[in-house]
Amino acid sequence: MQEKTYLKVVLLGKVNSGKTCLVTRYITRSFSEETPSTIGAAFCRKDIYIQGRNLSLAIWDTAGAERYQAMSAMYYRSARAAILCYDITDNISFDKVKFWVDQLKAAEPDCRIYLCGTKLDLIEEAVQPREVQTKTVVNYCRDIGGDVFETSSKRGYNVDKVFEKIAEDFMKSSSIVTTGSKGDVRLEHKSTEKKSCC
């Protein structure tokens, strides 16, 4: 049997920026607007086979509300990839993405960043006007060294591509960093004896 490699992917984004729908779409290949789904989408695992290796994606959803922002560092600890979701029809959600990019860059420099504009279908169907221009995002991504995708979870457009890219990039980088950082550890056996009375 072949060894499995685990890859932690963390999802960040404002409330209602389409994080959960993106994952649900990817995992179940369906978009549920009304029908209740049976899976708990807060944590998902997806096994994929890529370049002759078994890769297991562990996808961590996070709470996007402002009040839980302080805790998000706990979620993206040791994540190798982060999907930052923003709503194409909502400029504020993109501002939030910038905030998270800065946080990630500071805390987890090894974590690759993937920006994901969601709800593309709303624009194509002309339900809502576009607020976040593709050009600005692409330029921003070039600066921070990330990738950008525009997706529609409702139609399934581009959704798989996000995760495929993550897996590919990981395979590329994992050939370099396979064993993790090695360092020296010296254990000091110190017996500090303390005297005390009864």
Partner: protein, 464 residues
């Protein structure tokens, strides 16, 4: 008087008895429980013995046979490699390592446990076929059984050695290495070489469980950290937040449904249960169970459905944690993050839920008016004010039938106490009255002596 003098002199006699003094002659009194030493000297002697025993043990091991000897050496080398890999963890632990000073008391407590370690004497009619470990993984008990088989002796020895090493070095905290060292060791072990990863994982689980159960008392909530104080503070804090409703947290909980109520109670039960388990993975299993229940709660509470996202999940978990107010949650969280297999904590599903629990805890620790999106005054009123008695008491009662009955019991108790107090006052009055009467009577008698002469006095004296 004479009697008292006698006993006192007896005591002095005993106290001056040189046999009662500490054997080392340090001047303090000894104790038979400490083999005639005083506590300080006994500790020294004890530690010395421990070291000697450990040394002889490793010598025995070295003599135990060529091949095994080699194996242990290899294992040690791999352990070193494991240490290297755990560089990061060590750094995290460093702070702890420095401050750590295990109390001797704990060491003593642990010592009888050591003798009860399974000796691993083989039931030799069993030969360990490659299929065997697969079966063994089905349960921990099975695992312990296989541990006793001759082929597993090496693993067993290693476990025991490890446990002893930890117990002998109270200031050394290297548990995390254990898992790593063990896994390296198991992988190199000839028996496990051809086994799938799954089996190794399960065996590793067993090893981890075994070691952590043995070490639980020493490493859980160690006295040198302030875990205990944090526990108490948290518990108090959570109690003061009893007015928080799901709406405050934007949690999608429908408290009117009986089914949801039941699930909430189940989830709380799961959280409370964490403290009763010993091995880190058992504790984690409780967390996972609790979270599964939370999924169900959210499903039942949101008729529109949709996948449960973290946006719903975390508030709900926070609410459950607040309601359950589990004992020593902080200690348990610390224990799991210190000693659980790190791979599991970073990658697995359990790790995700555990992270959520950590978040919930840190959210509660920092909870303020802003986090609940209410004004400071309203927050203060809820925290310290009296509003909670009037408007919020009712839903609280409805939510928790147990607290309702408790309140009733408390009410009757209070009534009884008031009555008792009244009775006591009455009794006191009666006593003072009685005393006054006596005084009066005596006064009257004394007055009678002077006025009416000796006759009356004589008669009263004879009756007295």
């Amino acid at each position: 008087m004479a009697d008292r003098n006698k006993t006192r002199s007896k005591i002095y006699e005993r106290l001056n008895n040189p046999e009662l003094r500490c054997k080392t002659g340090c001047g303090f009194y000894g104790n038979p429980a400490w083999r005639g030493y005083c506590s300080v000297c006994y500790r020294e002697v004890y530690l010395k013995q421990q070291r000697a025993r450990a040394a002889s043990h490793s010598r025995e091991d070295a003599l135990a046979g060529g091949s095994q000897n080699l194996q242990t050496e290899v294992a040690h080398e791999e352990e070193e490699a494991g240490k290297l890999k755990f560089n990061k963890f060590e750094e995290k632990k460093k702070f702890q390592l420095e401050s750590k000073k295990q109390s001797v008391k704990k060491l003593f407590k642990k010592s009888p446990g050591r003798s009860s370690l399974p000796d691993g004497i083989p039931a030799a009619n069993f030969t360990l076929s490659p299929v065997e470990p697969q079966k063994s993984a089905t349960s921990f008990r099975e695992f312990l059984k296989t541990l006793k088989k001759p082929a597993a002796q090496d693993v067993n020895d290693k476990c025991k050695l490890f446990v002893q090493r930890i117990l002998n070095n109270p200031s050394l905290k290297v548990e995390e290495q254990s898992e790593m060292a063990m896994s390296e060791h198991l992988q190199s072990h000839q028996l496990f070489q051809n086994q799938p990863q799954e089996v190794i994982d399960r065996t590793l689980d067993g090893v981890e469980k075994y070691i952590m159960t043995k070490l639980y008392r020493v490493v859980f909530c160690p006295a040198s950290t302030d875990d205990e104080a944090t526990d108490l503070a948290n518990q108090k804090r959570m109690r003061s937040f009893n007015w928080i409703t799901p709406q405050h947290l934007d949690a999608a909980i429908n408290p009117d449904s009986d089914k949801v109520q039941q699930l909430i109670e189940d989830a709380q039960q799961d959280l409370v249960e964490i403290n009763t388990k010993r091995a880190p993975q058992d504790k984690l299993a409780c967390v996972v169970r609790c979270c599964k229940n939370i999924y169900k709660i959210i499903h039942l509470s949101t008729p529109a459905g949709g996948a449960v996202s973290a946006d719903d999940f975390l508030p709900c978990l926070i609410y459950i944690v607040l309601k359950a107010n589990p004992t020593m949650l902080h200690s348990n969280v610390q224990y799991i993050s210190r000693f659980c297999n790190p791979n599991k904590l970073v990658m697995g599903e359990a790790g995700y839920y555990f992270t959520n629990l950590c978040c919930a805890l840190s959210f509660i620790e920092k909870l303020d008016a802003q986090a609940l999106s209410m004004s400071q005054e309203e927050f203060n009123r809820n925290m310290y004010g009296d509003e909670s008695d009037g408007t919020r008491a009712k839903p609280n009662l409805k939510q928790n039938p147990l607290s309702h009955s408790n309140l009733e019991v408390l009410g009757t108790l209070r009534e009884r106490q008031v009555k008792l107090k009244e009775d006591a006052l009455v009794l006191q009055e009666q006593m003072t009255e009685f005393r006054n009467n006596i005084v009066k009577e005596v006064d009257a008698i004394l007055a009678g002596v002077t006025s009416k002469g000796d006759k009356y006095l004589k008669s009263t004296l004879t009756t007295m």
